[in-house]
């Protein structure tokens, strides 16, 4: 039961990045919020994976980790070409 509450907390942490995503004056703020949402999703998947004993969620967390890495990298590379 506690694990479900923890999963809810990580979900709240992921959604807490949303206002920064919308307000964020510079593009760097938006990519920071995207990175935080990515990490929050990975954390939620890991906590849920332990909560209801399905190891497949850990592989999904791995996929999200790579997705967050690639998206951050793409932003930085895009920033560089535009300068």
């Amino acid at each position: 039961m506690i694990l479900n509450f923890l999963a809810f907390c990580t979900l709240v942490a992921t959604l807490a990045a949303l206002p920064r995503l919308i307000i964020g004056p510079t593009a760097a703020d938006r990519i920071i919020a995207a990175q935080l949402a990515g990490t929050g999703t990975v954390a939620t998947l890991i906590v849920l994976g332990t909560a209801d004993k399905t190891p497949a969620l850990f592989d999904a967390a791995l996929v999200f980790a790579t997705l967050a890495a690639v998206s951050g990298l793409a932003f930085v590379a895009l920033q560089r070409t535009r300068l």
Binding site: A28, Q35, I46, D59, L62, A68, A69, Q79
Partner: protein
């Protein structure tokens, strides 16, 4: 449900989740881009490592240890390098204006 391993796992996971919540609060409230970045990379490296460690303790099976370890290493490495690249891009962009 009350073996020592599970209690340790639960405390580690709670600690990791609190890290993540504080980082989310930091990203929301901190004034400057670089300080927000500072808060973000803490969540990436420390928060997720603690959560994965707690999950590994709770799971108790060694095969999930490999997947969790890989996930932690990947997120820590990519999060920190991307944080550095964002900071450098932000600083160099600042000089141009």
């Amino acid at each position: 449900m009350t073996t020592v391993l599970q209690v340790v796992g639960l405390t580690l996971t709670t600690f990791g989740v609190s890290f993540l919540l504080i980082a989310a609060l930091g990203v929301w409230r901190l004034p400057d881009v670089l300080s927000r970045l500072h808060a973000l990379t803490k969540a990436d490296s420390a928060g997720l490592a603690l959560i994965a460690l707690g999950a590994a303790c709770l799971k108790g099976r060694p095969d999930s240890l490999l997947v969790l370890g890989l996930c932690v290493v990947l997120v820590a490495l990519s999060g920190v390098t991307i944080g550095h690249l964002i900071a450098r891009a932000h600083l160099s962009e600042g000089d141009l204006e």
